[in-house]
Symmetry: D2
Subunit: 357 residues, 4 copies
Amino acid sequence: MSHNSFGHLFRVTSWGESHGPAIGCVVDGCPPGIALSEADIQPFLDRRRPGQSRFTTQRQEADAVRILSGTFEGRTTGTPISLQIENVDQRSKDYGAIADRYRPGHADLTYELKYGLRDPRGGGRSSARETAVRVAAGAVARLVLGPDVRVRGALVQIGPHAIDGAHWDWDQVERNPLFCPDAATVPVWEAYLDQVRKNGSSVGAIVALEADGVPPGLGAPLYGKLDADLAAALMSINAVKGVEIGAGFAAACLSGEENADAMSMQGGRIAFGSNHAGGVLGGISTGQPVTARFAVKPTSSILTPVASVTRDGEAALVSTRGRHDPCVGIRAVPVGEAMLACVLADHLLRHRGQTGH
Amino acid sequence: MSHNSFGHLFRVTSWGESHGPAIGCVVDGCPPGIALSEADIQPFLDRRRPGQSRFTTQRQEADAVRILSGTFEGRTTGTPISLQIENVDQRSKDYGAIADRYRPGHADLTYELKYGLRDPRGGGRSSARETAVRVAAGAVARLVLGPDVRVRGALVQIGPHAIDGAHWDWDQVERNPLFCPDAATVPVWEAYLDQVRKNGSSVGAIVALEADGVPPGLGAPLYGKLDADLAAALMSINAVKGVEIGAGFAAACLSGEENADAMSMQGGRIAFGSNHAGGVLGGISTGQPVTARFAVKPTSSILTPVASVTRDGEAALVSTRGRHDPCVGIRAVPVGEAMLACVLADHLLRHRGQTGH
Amino acid sequence: MSHNSFGHLFRVTSWGESHGPAIGCVVDGCPPGIALSEADIQPFLDRRRPGQSRFTTQRQEADAVRILSGTFEGRTTGTPISLQIENVDQRSKDYGAIADRYRPGHADLTYELKYGLRDPRGGGRSSARETAVRVAAGAVARLVLGPDVRVRGALVQIGPHAIDGAHWDWDQVERNPLFCPDAATVPVWEAYLDQVRKNGSSVGAIVALEADGVPPGLGAPLYGKLDADLAAALMSINAVKGVEIGAGFAAACLSGEENADAMSMQGGRIAFGSNHAGGVLGGISTGQPVTARFAVKPTSSILTPVASVTRDGEAALVSTRGRHDPCVGIRAVPVGEAMLACVLADHLLRHRGQTGH
Amino acid sequence: MSHNSFGHLFRVTSWGESHGPAIGCVVDGCPPGIALSEADIQPFLDRRRPGQSRFTTQRQEADAVRILSGTFEGRTTGTPISLQIENVDQRSKDYGAIADRYRPGHADLTYELKYGLRDPRGGGRSSARETAVRVAAGAVARLVLGPDVRVRGALVQIGPHAIDGAHWDWDQVERNPLFCPDAATVPVWEAYLDQVRKNGSSVGAIVALEADGVPPGLGAPLYGKLDADLAAALMSINAVKGVEIGAGFAAACLSGEENADAMSMQGGRIAFGSNHAGGVLGGISTGQPVTARFAVKPTSSILTPVASVTRDGEAALVSTRGRHDPCVGIRAVPVGEAMLACVLADHLLRHRGQTGH
């Protein structure tokens, strides 16, 4: 990954700040001949869009995407696809007060340490608003992967409340505003989040991702591993602090016997008895579902004052009254899906390039 | 990361298989004028070298590194540094039996699915032996970072046995063969590992890394984040299944108040009351220690037979009698340190390139 | 260079077709704190803009650039700079007739051979219109280089008519619409081009570039040479068929004695008696002016019918009546300057990254 | 191209100095399953090897290549191929005298300006010796391209003496030590070179390259053009000062009618009446032969003293008595072929990656 690009053959370059006129990205290297219009992208943006429930920020952004290049008569031409989303709801006044001090947990301080200046409006480049363009790029990536590859995500933990994995039902995910796959957990989370929101507080979360139908062979040794690129892609999302593939950290407690995914022949194909590997061995996809999880820290913008300092080196308290998500992990679900789709699409092309398959 | 390279300005390209004549890497982009000889690298290789205790494989490799290019009269010239390590102890017969079947948990299957063939000798390219060149490159990276940056690692969990963080003592790490920072935990681990080894089994582990003295400003928005590149670098190590920065997955359970690292002025500089961020905000270093953890799965080579299939699609049991680490997590400590050093060195140069500082 | 990006640290990603809603680019990696507004870019676009004399296409494009991201209060922030130019004058009907046949000398055929389809409107992605975004990026690159580096270009040959180098006067270049540095040649070219235009024909040209004030040390061995990157950058411009550095092809006829640029000390600094090297030795800048030349083929769109084939494999004659430059080499002057500026800016940052200078 | 690597999917990383223990390269991304042994590479190295006629340096290097990784049982495995050539004939005393002064035309000065130090033995990294590894990589690239793609080169001009193109006979190229395709020119060149050598002088040359059988569609818009990458690859060769594709600089003098390569259907396929395009339109291969030419400056090491300066800033005369090629252009023929082969192989994989063809 260079500064604001990722991928090798399916390559996304992102630009834009929260309070500029627009945000967008350039998707370069997309295969030609794929049917693509705004209608293929918009539904994914709508899933990520804020203001759809009381559990996300009440900022109102239409998040209407425009395709400015790279298609002709509804098909990709193989040339760069420029995607653009106008910024509509830019209440800069919400942010004016924090231009002179560093919000703990935000990139205010580090942008200034690095660049000597920063765009303080809404977090500027480091605003979670940027994740909209990831979702747009991910929608294109899904088309590259084709209908046989299904990329899905769900929220599996909010604060201390984890779902019961035994109740997992993918159909539930789209039926509640929390992307929760366990119907019984939804009211628990809602009550908990209402309390968090009332307190002006925030909380972290864990997102689980799964891609099934991934052809075997995607990935490359040893630095271009599928899971290494996926780890970077997920860690590049705002507020993410941890990434797991397959069994993840739980693998530390397993014995070799427990961790081994036994193989057998089933109908002429290799089948696995379990999937601790998360669909990746030696950095290369096995054909099993690719599974990953990532941890999102609590929103740093909270009502409770936290000790900080001003740009002039004075002690200051920072308390944020703006319209913020009490749990940014919720809207991270479609973002994580998008990053997984982009990494898979890139590796699909890379694999095809090297091997012809 | 492309197939076998990583880094942008401090760029490492790795090559070699377990049972070929040698392994090595090319370190390109190293600043000129740095004093460098084999003696600067060898101690780090010796820390990683197998056969130093009963808890690692008894394979004997001198792991003697040679510098074949890039230095003149003991200083780096700015041209590519070729590092090479001969393979000495190649008992291919240990591996002959598994050439026709796929070892569960290994890359045997996926290399064949991807490439249509594989080098079965000792895992070929996917052997943990490759990590020696990472350690060699990391030793060069440390010199780029200079003496003010200290990169250290420790083993903090083996199987279910975690250290007591309250007893953490960096000085202990070099005093036991398990890189354990908690003296009281060493005998617990030794007894546990003896049992694991006796059973022909294996176990996973968790490694913790810390770099202090890291200048603020390293990293880049949003895809070239310091933590995104670090996540890829650590996940690219064999057998790693999870990566955390700072509070990591524990951040999911925290409230915004708990997670906030409060700031204050201390002696004219910004100080932090805690380090849940792991020294990285918005992908950019804060000046606090950069902290990360990664999970290593149990060695897949175990004595217990596991169900698998042959290349011809027949059911087969795989049991590995070779000389293997019961816990590859142990030797992953110097490897993780090396990857952290490489990522920091690369970002140091990238930051200097963009900003001149 | 990947598909539509170039540069490593100063990295430009271009997008857009001739007849889409807009064209643009993302400039990533620009140093922070540089004063930048549209007014810094527009004059360079105006120099390249068509319709300014009877010798260029009469298409009318305002070529008004907008900065959509990457600046705050008139300064670069270090984050990606999105530059966008709307397409205004899109007379698609001019091109309708050639959608079903391949124009000789154009990319019509090869885009279809590669991608299986193409955007036929105005040449689509391969239109010379794309060069506007190069000029925009080049204007930013000039600011990165600073006022001590001066990047200039001139047209030195049109068809068989070369300038007299002894009459070279940089001041003349901006005083005629042909970027000609030799006042005596201007009327010769004008008369010649009038004839070419009247015939519905076209003609090739040669552009010379010079950058003075380039600090020594820019460039990298052996594949990242300054001149290698410059060669790619110039050859990537539409219709360019040849690139020379310094003495160029004439060096083939020189003896070692003639070609040697003798050195002496002048006022405490190394001075050169000549500049056959074009300011680059071993791929690294010497501090002398960096000089390059490139050849532009004649515009392929001509009135004279040329034998071709249709998409259905039928013989066809192609004659282009649209509004075309009789000599695209003219408008290639500001484009060549821009590419030189971009390459120098990228190498300035890369050099600083590796060496700290 | 980064410092010492080139190519995206077929990626070569080169290392080594003239007088170190060895030189070599890592070829990463090579497709699997290709039959490859040292015997496939050595003949190309032998063609480039010095000391084979009185017209090249009398240095004796066996240039025996070893494959250290990336193959198993005589086939590529898809993992990185490490190629290594020992340096045998290192008479450092030849070069001792020039360690304290800058040889005009050499990279001595610029390496020191950039890095603050240099390896003076035999030109260090900038020695033409490095081109051996390009030839080795090129031999692998030819195998990737397969037998249907034929990459050939010839010397077409030495000093003022150009061949007669009408006499071109590819079979002649291997029958004389000057890679001359025109039998009648060989004695002219031999007599001329004998005189040059006797005078302790040197002379430049022009090399022509041709690849036939190149499938259409290779290349990418607009920055990853086939010809842009080829220009960089050729300009990256030591002493090259100019690159042309197809008609090259001569295109500047052509009218649109003259330059147009007319198309017609021949046996169900598109045929061209001429090849001014050099097999590339819009940066993408047409299926015609890809043709290029490059100019090589005269060897800078000559007997005639040239004014220079010492590292201490004193005036000095430099005269080189070592064993040097009077015309490095001769041995540049196999090097140019290798670079062309590498660029084509890379674009073959990239094209396949994006389009699946």
